[in-house]
Each structure stands twice: as structure tokens, then as C-alpha cells.
């Protein structure tokens, strides 16, 4: 139950915000021209906003005071021109970045997807897919918004504030200095706030990931939820998580409210002081009324740039944590092919050979016994070897080593004498075809799902043959659109037995040299099983196969049987031999503790 959601990977030691954000550069680089132009445009537009009050001042002090109609016209014209330019520049900025920013988000998402497809299975075992998904969606949206808005405006507003301060000082340096007093305290507060906010923002993002996981599981496990009438308790655990997220969001809001209030109050106090001082000086005649109006007008124009710093920093901080989360996945080590060297060929040893293979999960605790330990096994060319073992003895793990879904921790596995560790994965997985214990179909037609197991040249004849072997031609023919019917998550859902038969067809369609079948007939009824077995025997004659078996009927497909016990090969022989020699085997095959299995014959 999702009461304790999968813990998200803990944040690495905090790095500086700028360094984290700089990692976005490779994605921004291709659009840098437009991006920086947009930034420059934004700065110019903001400066125009600052110029407008100056024109107003000139208008009030000059033509208006002098009662000069021509000058008033001119001033209004300037104002209009500046206004139009400002509007066009605002639009231009948005137009420049609209497509590039969507493309940055899209590229990042594509890279994440591509990377995830190539990360080791062990990585996927550890990470709940909701956490991955939230990195690929909400986090990337945060990053896009950051590039669109806070990044530009932190720069623009920063420049505006500096330029504005310069203008203020130029207009009247003593009043200007009064206005500048809050700068230092505001900066100190901001940096303190930024640190605190980052921590909370990260927590909120992780909690969104956990929530996503629960939603996903509630659908994947819907039959269990319904079967046990647990939708209330399920909703209850969802609610607990959602409430956790709510309280995190509220503490974010508390931080934001504090900083925002301070950023509002401090500059406003300075403006008030400037107003009072300015008025006194106007009264003394030391300052013209127009100058004071222009000065305060400039100061008020700076109000938004200053006010905005609070939430701009907040959004930037969220972008920093979102970027960190993104790169946590991107930094994980991909599966890599060994550098192309001379393939280690041992011409003599054809078939599939395990030599001293051991395996432990990369994240297994220290001192835990390995899952597989010193496996020596040889499946001769054309032979079918059944792998039998108690539940949890490591059978599935052993089969996963052959197509390198997991990497053996020790020893080596040879295919026709070639060490798979130095083979290109692509080629290895062409040579080895697998039918998994849990048959997964993808959102595609039946035909496409099956033909995934063959090379691109394969077509209808191969498909028909494979469906025939798996005894799936009957039910596929009765589907609404035959082999063209959509199945998988977005299509028609098939029964377990039907899925298993399609997965089997997928495994055999490409006539692979090596075939790995993990309990391929478990969900079939007796009649179908018998027919599949008969057809499968023909296929197995021409391939080297490793078949995980739970029952005598499946064992019958094999020429020999290997008994896997506590991570080691305990015995190898024919079914009959093992029934006689191994009590464990007899027990596994018959369920009886003693050699009762013999009695069955």
C-alpha cells in the first residue's frame, strides 16, 4: 500500500543554483540566437518604459509650463512613438522565444525518454515510474517557464533596476541615495530566502512524483482494489499523500509571503522618505516640482521590477530543483557496449554456455548472499534445456542474464563461444529471443506486437507461422480486425492465456538462434497447452533453448533438465534421471515430499 511511498532518491549535496542551471546550456544553445535577442529586446523595452516618464517630465516642465502648443504636440508624438515601439518590442520578445522554448522542453523530454530506455533494468527496479514521469512532465514545464519568464526578467529587471538607480542618481543624487538604502538588506534577505525555498520546493516536487506513483498504481492494481473493496482505504492513502503535498505547498507559500512582504515594504519606505525630503527641497526652492515628479515617477516605475524579485527568485529556485531532479536521471550510467575489440571466440564451445556465472543485485546489502553463485551450464547447439527450481531460486534472474537485461557480476556467458559481455547489445538481442513470465503487449496491432520479434523484412508468412505455433491463429482470426486489431494498454485487453500465446509467438517469429522462455505455458488450458507443445517441439529442434519450467508438461519439451537450488546448479540430467536422483526435483515436480513422483509413471 502506498502509505510509505517509494522514497525518491535523496537530493545530492546542494550545489550552487547557477551551476545547476548552467547544465541547461546544451539545450538552450541551439536556440541561443533567438533567446539572447529576446533578452536584449526585453531590456530595451524595459528601458523604454523608464524613458517615458522622462518625456512626461519634459512635457510638464517645458511646453506645458511655457504654454507652447507645438511642443505639446511634439511631446505627445514622442510618447506615442515610444508606446508603439514598446508594444512591438514586447510582442517581438514573445514571438522570438515561443517556438524555441517549446523545443527546449521537447528536446529535454526526448532525451529523458531516450535515456530511460537505455538505463539498466536495475535502475527501473529502484525507481517508481511516477517519479520518472513527474520529472518528464511537471519538472520540465517548470524549466520551460523559468527560461521563458524568470530568467529573462531577473536579468531584465536587474538591468532595469540598475539603470533606474543610475537615472535616479543622475536626476538627484541625494534623493537617489535615500532610495538605494534598502538594497543591501533586500539582497541579504533574498539569498537567505532562496536557500530555504529551494529545500521546500524540492520536497514538493518529490511529493508530486509520489502522488503520480499512487495514481498509476491505483490503475494498474485496479482489480485488486476492486476485488477487496479497498477503494476507500486506497483513496485514504492518496488523501494522506495529497495532504502532505498541501502542507509542503503551504510552507512554500509562507516563505513566499514573507519575502514578498519585505520586498514590498522596504523600497516603499524609501520612496516615502524621498517624497518627504523632496517636498521639503521643492519648498526650499532647491528642486523643481517637475524634477520631483519625474524622480518619483521613475521610482514608482521601478516598483514592479523590485516587487517581482520575490516570486522570480521563487520560480528560479523551483527551476533549480526541477533541473536537479532531471539530471539525477540523466546522470545515471547508461548501459554501454564494450569497446569494439576482437570478439573473444572460442570456436570449440558452440551453444549457450555459462561459466562460473555469479550475480548479485547492484544495490544488494553488503554481505547478502548472491542470487546466483558459480553457475556452470552448457546448453548444446540445438538442445533444449529446462531450468527447474523452487520459487525464488533465481531462475528468472538467470534467464535475464542472457539478453543482458542484468549484467552478470562474475563469470561469463558465451553464445557460440562469444562472450556476451563484449557483444553489441543490439546484436545480442537479435540472436536471443525472450518470452517473459509476464507477457506484456504494447499499444500496437497484434501483428506488430508479434513481428517485434523479427527483423524488418518479416511479413505475413512469418506472422502466420508464429501465430500458428502459439495456437493463437484461431482467436486472432476472430478478433474484430484480425491481426490488425489494436491491443495493449490503449487497445483491446486480452485474457492472460491469449497474451501469453502472443508473447510466445513474438519470441519465435524471428527464428532466433537462441530462445529463452520463462514458464511460457502457465496460463494455457490443457488442450491448448498440448497443441502448443506439439508445435513448439518443431521450433525447438532448430534452436538452442533455455526454458524455465514449473510443471512436468513443460519439462517434457526439454532434452535435459537443470535443477537450480539456492543460486547453484544442483543437478543436470534427464527428467527421469532427476526424478530418481533428486528428492528436491521430485518434490518440485509432484509436490510430494518423498520419491512419490516415481509412482506417477
Amino acid at each position: 500500500m502506498p502509505e510509505k511511498p517509494a522514497p525518491s532518491e535523496s537530493a545530492p549535496a546542494r550545489r550552487s543554483a547557477v551551476r545547476v542551471l548552467l547544465r541547461l546550456w546544451p539545450y538552450v544553445r541551439p536556440v541561443r540566437g533567438r533567446f539572447f535577442t529576446a533578452g536584449a529586446v526585453a531590456i530595451v523595452a524595459s528601458c523604454l518604459s523608464l524613458v517615458i516618464p522622462l518625456v512626461l517630465k519634459w512635457l510638464v516642465d517645458g511646453p506645458v509650463a511655457d504654454r507652447d502648443p507645438g511642443g505639446v504636440w511634439l511631446g505627445a508624438l514622442y510618447l506615442l512613438l515610444l508606446g508603439i515601439t514598446e508594444a512591438v518590442l514586447f510582442g517581438l520578445r514573445r514571438w522570438l522565444v515561443a517556438r524555441p522554448l517549446s523545443s527546449v522542453e521537447a528536446r529535454m523530454r526526448e532525451d529523458l525518454y531516450g535515456r530511460l530506455q537505455r538505463l539498466p533494468i536495475a535502475f527501473h527496479d529502484r525507481w517508481a515510474s511516477g517519479q520518472l514521469l513527474s520529472r518528464g512532465t511537471t519538472d520540465l514545464m517548470i524549466v520551460r517557464m523559468f527560461l521563458a519568464f524568470p530568467l529573462t526578467f531577473l536579468v531584465v529587471n536587474g538591468v532595469t533596476i540598475v539603470a533606474g538607480c543610475a537615472l535616479l542618481l543622475a536626476q538627484d543624487w541625494s534623493l537617489g541615495l535615500v532610495l538605494l538604502t534598502p538594497v543591501v538588506p533586500v539582497m541579504v534577505l533574498c539569498s537567505y530566502f532562496e536557500r530555504r525555498y529551494g529545500v521546500v520546493a524540492r520536497r514538493a516536487q518529490d511529493q508530486v512524483g509520489d502522488l503520480t506513483t499512487v495514481v498509476e498504481e491505483s490503475v494498474l492494481g485496479i482489480r485488486i482494489v476492486k476485488g477487496f473493496g479497498r477503494h476507500r482505504s486506497q483513496a485514504e492513502s492518496f488523501r494522506r499523500l495529497a495532504e502532505l503535498l498541501r502542507s509542503t505547498e503551504l510552507s512554500k507559500a509562507r516563505l513566499l509571503a514573507t519575502i514578498w512582504a519585505l520586498i514590498t515594504v522596504l523600497p516603499e519606505l524609501a520612496i516615502g522618505a524621498a517624497l518627504v525630503l523632496g517636498t521639503v527641497r521643492v519648498a526650499d526652492g532647491g528642486l523643481s516640482a517637475g524634477t520631483l515628479v519625474a524622480f518619483l515617477s521613475t521610482a514608482l516605475a521601478l516598483r514592479w521590477p523590485v516587487d517581482s524579485i520575490g516570486f522570480l527568485l521563487a520560480m528560479s529556485q523551483e527551476a533549480v530543483t526541477a533541473t536537479e531532479r532531471y539530471f539525477e536521471v540523466m546522470d545515471a550510467e547508461e548501459e554501454r557496449d564494450a569497446p569494439a575489440g576482437a570478439p573473444a571466440v572460442h570456436g570449440s564451445a558452440a551453444g549457450l554456455r555459462f561459466e562460473g556465472v555469479s550475480f548479485r543485485f547492484p544495490d544488494a546489502p553488503e554481505g547478502a548472499p548472491p542470487v546466483l553463485d558459480g553457475i556452470d551450464l552448457h546448453v548444446r547447439p540445438g538442445e533444449t534445456l529446462a531450468l527447474v527450481g523452487a520459487t525464488g531460486s533465481g531462475k528468472t534472474t538467470l534467464t535475464a542474464l542472457v539478453p543482458r537485461l542484468h549484467e552478470a557480476s562474475g563469470g561469463r556467458i558465451l553464445l557460440d563461444g562469444e562472450d556476451i559481455a563484449v557483444m553489441e547489445r543490439e546484436r545480442l538481442r537479435t540472436l536471443v529471443s525472450v518470452a517473459f513470465e509476464e507477457p506484456t503487449l504494447f499499444s500496437a496491432s497484434v501483428g506488430e506486437n508479434v513481428l517485434m520479434g523479427a527483423d524488418a523484412a518479416a511479413g505475413t508468412p512469418e506472422l502466420d507461422r508464429a501465430l500458428g505455433i502459439a495456437q493463437a491463429d484461431g482467436f486472432v482470426g476472430r478478433l474484430p480486425e484480425g491481426a490488425g486489431t489494436q491491443v495493449g494498454e490503449q487497445g483491446l485487453s486480452l485474457s492472460g492465456g491469449q497474451r501469453q500465446r502472443l508473447a510466445l509467438a513474438r519470441a519465435v517469429v524471428g527464428r532466433p538462434r537462441f530462445l529463452v522462455l520463462d514458464d511460457p505455458l502457465s496460463a494455457l488450458d490443457v488442450h491448448t497447452e498440448a497443441r502448443v507443445e506439439a508445435a513448439l517441439r518443431e521450433v525447438l529442434k532448430e534452436t538452442t533453448a533455455l526454458v524455465v519450467a514449473h510443471r512436468p508438461s513443460t519439462v517434457m519439451l526439454a532434452d535435459r533438465v537443470a535443477l537450480l537450488s539456492e543460486g547453484r546448479i544442483a543437478a543436470v540430467g534427464t527428467h527421469q534421471e532427476l526424478l530418481r536422483s533428486s528428492t528436491e526435483y521430485a518434490w518440485l515436480m509432484s509436490g510430494a515430499r518423498t520419491g512419490e513422483g516415481d509412482g506417477r509413471r
Binding site: V64, S129, G136, G227, R239, E438, G453, P552, H575
Partner: protein, 619 residues
């Protein structure tokens, strides 16, 4: 809608009524919501917070007033303060200083109150909406989920909820702020000078037209964007959940091409949305800046002509600039509003789905058991089950299973075995007739009562995130650790669980891929044992178990579950052999009914199956 949903079921061998195609609302991710449902949803979400929204608006109003007071104080200082000060009267200036201090501190404090209050409303609404989506989805039928996919539901409860969050967290503030400053500044301008104020108000006309145009265009773009991101999520989730076969069958490149196309669709609509915004910004800024220039021109003329005070013009000019400050914010509000509206429409479409199996309105309790035996009697009374356009799965079906009997159901795929099980577990309701548990129609039982009565264990043994113990405790959430362990021991799962790194507290997600299918089925059984139902349904629940595992299950059924009524659907006749009674089904009918011994002795289908099975055991 329910009928369309029911058209998708597990056994496709029977006819299905609706072809899959582009016309299908599920494929288009476009479930119909009744007219006005989107607005109604938003209103119902906010209704509970009406008072707090009003308070927040009030706070913001006062805060805006405090902020807007600035230029007024400037005008006052210049027009009154300066002459008074020259005359030696410091009073007005002191008043200005005090007023400014008050306004600054007040604005800050109110800002703080507003941000916190708005966040509270916002988060409560989101919590409510998330909960509604989740609870509703949980009530919808299995068939619905098979079609809707987990990816879409994730999209609804993350990215679509996120759109609403943006609207509420920024939008609400923007909207209130925009309206308040438009109204307040217009009023101040009108008060300062009727003429300038009138021009300002007149400029709202073209702005309104702009807003209308923007809304029309952006609405369509955002609807498309919401669909597009859902498509991306569906593909993403499917790939990650099937990562093993993706690898083994070298699907990486094909997937990347498919994902790229979906992602590109989202990229386009995203870009379109940003461009619509750019159009709006240019248009509105042009209107605003032209109006500013016009008003200044006019005001300046009048000052020059002597019909307007210089101080009034100075204040008016400051206000006019600020009048249009919020048009960008208005743009942002409209932007988040359209985005949220598109998302809410999708959510409303989901919430409008009627559960195929409605909760009992006037629930009844099961009668007290007659004896001490835990089982209950099951009766299928004239049950017919069909999909909308015919294709009967069960043509009029009568069956009585006495309390405590173990019934095995066998038959080929598509014979109706699973349908029988699902009717009894009330995953579906029958088209005609009734399914009775100790004489009570299943439709009259509240869910908790129903699940004390009937529990089903299916072939897919999914594990939820959490520990092994928590997964078993799904059977009975209030169970103690001892009870959980007892259930695991009874089913023979204790040994492997004890061998896990943290025993019962092992997090299955950390080693989720490492609990084998057989072990997962044992956990599923332990759950059922813990639930301790009167009627237990096993639908292919032993397929991944090895022979000893299967024996353990049988043993548990003889001991721990003795006396329960049990319906066992199995391909393995070893499971069937221990049944009191065997039903052979074909095309939705029972064609053979008897004890295993009777049927094996006969010449019927079961006898044939049994022979084939005996042969398969020995080869």
C-alpha cells in the same frame, strides 16, 4: 457511456459492438462532459471557499488601495505640502510622511496575509479536486480503466490539476488585482478629472474585443495541448512499465520515433499557445500606449490653457501609466484561465463517467449465518449478461452453490468462466436476473459488506508500493502483524518473505522486479486469506505457482479456508480435482455438472480434459 465501456472486455472472442477507430472518444481522449459541466465543476470547487475568497478579495482591495495611495500622496505633497511648508506649516508634510509609512507597512502586511490566505484556498481546492478525480476513478469499472489507461488518469491528476493550480495561485490574484486596479484607477482618474477619466474608460472597449478574440483562439489551442501531453504521458508510462520487453525486443528506436511524434505534437501546441499570448500582448499594449499618449496630449493642452492644475496633471499622468500596468497581468490571467478551462473540461469529462457498477443506495446487511460454517450460499437467478448490441456471454443462467461448497469451473477461453466470476465479484452487474448471496442481491450490499462476503483473487498479482506486509494487509487493513504472518504461513509464503532483506518490511518497489510472479501470487493468496471472505473466487490464481506452491494453496483451502464457498477457475486440473463439484462451461452455458469422480468416469468433455492432463503430467 457505460455501454461503450462495457464493449471492451476481457474475452474478445465474443462480439464487440464498437469498432476502435478515430471516432472513438477514448482514442481521441475526449470524453464528453455535459454542457456547462466545466463551469459547474469550477463553481462547486470554489463554493466551499466562498467566504474565504471574499475575505482574500477584500484584503487585496485594501492592499491595492494602500498601494494606489502613493501618487495621491505625491500630488498632495506638491500641491499642498509645498506651499504649506513654505508658509511654515509642517502639518501637511508630516501627514504625508505618516500616510506613506502607513500605506507601505499596510501594503506589505496585507500582501503577506493575502499570499498565505490565497495559498490556503488554492491548496484546499486542489486537494479537493485531486481527491475527487482519484475517488471517482476508483469507483469506475475495470473496463473503463482498460480503455482510459493509467497514463491519461495520471495526466488528469497531475498536468491538468497543475493548470488549475496556476490559475488559482497566480490567476486569482491577477484577476482580483486587475479588476481592482482598473476600477480604482479609473475612479481616481474620473475624480481627478472627468475628461481624462472618460478617455480611460473608453479605452476598455477595444481591450474587451481583444480579450474576446484571444479567448476564442487560445481555448482551442489549450484543449489540443492537454490532449497532446496526455498522449506523451501514456506512451511514457507504457514504455517504463514494459521496460524489459522494450529492451529484449530492441524497441528503443521505434519507441523514440513514436514518442518523438507525440512530443512534437505537444511542442507545436505549446508554441501555438505562446504565440497567441504574443499577439494579445502586442494588441493590448498598442491600445494602452495610444490611450496614454492621447490623454497626456489632452491634459497638457488643458494645463497650457489653464483649465487644469499642474499637480492634477502630474498625478493623472502617473495614474494613467499605471492604469495599463495590469494588462499584461490580465493576459497572464487569461492565459492560465484558458489553460485551466481546457484541463477542467477533460477532468469534467472523466468525472461525468457513470460508474458501471453503482454503489447500493439503500444497502442491506447480509443475514446472520445459520450455523457456524463461514460459507454462504450463492445463487445465480435467471442471470443474463450481454453487451449492448447482443453478443450474449451468458444466456439465461441459473446456478445454486450451497454454502461451503468448492466449485471448479472449467472450459475453453471465452466460454464465460471469467464473466461468471466477475458477476459474482460484482465487477459487473447482470443485464437481467440477480446474483444472490444468502438471498440478498449483490446490488443491495454496501462495498464493505460485499467484500466481507466475496473476494476474488485474479491472475495478475500486482504489488503496490510499500512493504510486503502492507501488501498482504490490503486484505484487511486493520490486521495485526501476527495475523499477516499467520496468513503468509498458511499459504506457504512465509519462508520466502522471511528470506527477504527486511523480511515483512521489505519495500517491494526497491526489489519489486525481484519478487517472482509465483511469489507475487502467494502474496495475493495471503491477502485473500486475511480478508477471510464467505465466498472466495480464484480466477486463474495459481497459474504461476509451481507444484509445491499449488499444493500449499490447496492445503490452505482445506484447512484455513475450510467451510468457505469457493469458485475456482483453473486450467490446472490438479486444482480442480479437490473440488466438491465441477462445472464445465461452453458458450456461456453449463454443459456438465457433477463431482470430479462422476465426470472423470463419464465420457464427457471433462473426462477428455482429465485424460489430457494425466498425460501431460507424465509426458
Amino acid at each position: 457511456m457505460t455501454e461503450t465501456m462495457l464493449a471492451r472486455r476481457e474475452d474478445p472472442e465474443e462480439e464487440r459492438e464498437e469498432p476502435l477507430g478515430p471516432g472513438d472518444p477514448f482514442d481521441r481522449d475526449d470524453l464528453p462532459a455535459p454542457r456547462g459541466a466545466t463551469g459547474a465543476l469550477l463553481r462547486s470547487l470554489l463554493a466551499a471557499h466562498r467566504f474565504r475568497v471574499a475575505v482574500a478579495a477584500l484584503v487585496l482591495l485594501v492592499k491595492e488601495a494602500a498601494v494606489q495611495a502613493g501618487p495621491l500622496l505625491v500630488a498632495y505633497a506638491i500641491d499642498r505640502g509645498v506651499p504649506a511648508f513654505r508658509a511654515g506649516d509642517h502639518g501637511p508634510l508630516v501627514a504625508v510622511a505618516a500616510g506613506y509609512l502607513l500605506c507601505a507597512v499596510g501594503a506589505g502586511a496585507l500582501q503577506y496575509v493575502f499570499v498565505r490566505g490565497a495559498a490556503r484556498i488554492n491548496q484546499d481546492v486542489l486537494l479537493d479536486l485531486r481527491g475527487r478525480i482519484f475517488r471517482h476513478a476508483q469507483v469506475l469499472s475495470v473496463d473503463f480503466h482498460e480503455r482510459y489507461t493509467s497514463g491519461r488518469l495520471i495526466s488528469r491528476s497531475t498536468t491538468d490539476v497543475e493548470s488549475l493550480r496556476e490559475l488559482l495561485s497566480e490567476g486569482l490574484q491577477e484577476l482580483i488585482g486587475v479588476v481592482l486596479s482598473f476600477v480604482s484607477i479609473s475612479l481616481v482618474l474620473l475624480w481627478l478629472d472627468l475628461g481624462i477619466g472618460a478617455v480611460a474608460v473608453a479605452s476598455f472597449g477595444p481591450l474587451y474585443l481583444l480579450v474576446r478574440m484571444y479567448r476564442r483562439r487560445a481555448g482551442a489551442v489549450y484543449a489540443e495541448r492537454s490532449t497532446a501531453i496526455a498522449g506523451v504521458i501514456v506512451k511514457f508510462a507504457e514504455t517504463m512499465n514494459g521496460i524489459r520487453p522494450v529492451r529484449a525486443f530492441r524497441r528503443e528506436r521505434v519507441n523514440e520515433a513514436e514518442f518523438g511524434a507525440l512530443n512534437h505534437r505537444h511542442e507545436r501546441s505549446n508554441g501555438d499557445a505562446l504565440l497567441e499570448m504574443a499577439r494579445y500582448v502586442v494588441g493590448s499594449r498598442l491600445v494602452a500606449n495610444t490611450a496614454v499618449a492621447g490623454m497626456c496630449l489632452w491634459g497638457a493642452y488643458r494645463v497650457a490653457g489653464g483649465s487644469l492644475e499642474l499637480g492634477v496633471l502630474a498625478a493623472a499622468v502617473l495614474y494613467v501609466r499605471r492604469l495599463y500596468d495590469p494588462i499584461d497581468r490580465l493576459g497572464m490571467f487569461l492565459n492560465s484561465y484558458e489553460s485551466a478551462a481546457a484541463s477542467l473540461t477533460k477532468i469534467a469529462g472523466l468525472l461525468a463517467q457513470e460508474p458501471g457498477v453503482p454503489e447500493a443506495t439503500a444497502p442491506r446487511d447480509l443475514p446472520e449465518r445459520a450455523g457456524t460454517a463461514p460459507g454462504r450460499e450463492v445463487v445465480f437467478d435467471g442471470v443474463r449478461f450481454a453487451y449492448r448490441t447482443g453478443g450474449e456471454v451468458l444466456p439465461r443462467f441459473d446456478l445454486r452453490i450451497p454454502a461451503g461448497q468448492t466449485v471448479a469451473v472449467v472450459g475453453a477461453t471465452g466460454a464465460g468462466k471469467s464473466t461468471l466470476a466477475k458477476l459474482l465479484a460484482r465487477f459487473y452487474d447482470p443485464t437481467d436476473g440477480r446474483v444472490l448471496l444468502d438471498g440478498v442481491d449483490l446490488r443491495e450490499l454496501a462495498t464493505p459488506e460485499l467484500r466481507r462476503g466475496v473476494v476474488m483473487v485474479t491472475q495478475e498479482a500486482f504489488l503496490f508500493s510499500g512493504t510486503v506486509a502492507e501488501n498482504i494487509a490490503i486484505g484487511r487493513p486493520d490486521a495485526t502483524r501476527e495475523e499477516v504472518e499467520r496468513a503468509a504461513k498458511a499459504i506457504g509464503a512465509h519462508a520466502f518473505i522471511a528470506g527477504l532483506p527486511d523480511g515483512y518490511d521489505t519495500d517491494v518497489r526497491k526489489r519489486g522486479g525481484r519478487i517472482s510472479a509465483g511469489q507475487r501470487q502467494l502474496v495475493a493468496f495471503a491477502r485473500a486469506l486475511l480478508a477471510d471472505p464467505a465466498v472466495l473466487i480464484l480466477d486463474e490464481a495459481t497459474s504461476s505457482l509451481d507444484v509445491p506452491g499449488e499444493r500449499a494453496v490447496q492445503h490452505a483451502m482445506d484447512t484455513v479456508l475450510a467451510g468457505r464457498t469457493a469458485v475456482v477457475i483453473a486450467h490446472r486440473l490438479s486444482t480442480v480435482e479437490v473440488a466438491d463439484r465441477v462445472l464445465v462451461m461452453e458458450a456461456g452455458r453449463i454443459v456438465e455438472d457433477g463431482t470430479p469422480a462422476e465426470l472423470v468416469g463419464g465420457e464427457g468433455r471433462y473426462a477428455g480434459l482429465h485424460r489430457a492432463w494425466r498425460d501431460s503430467l507424465t509426458g
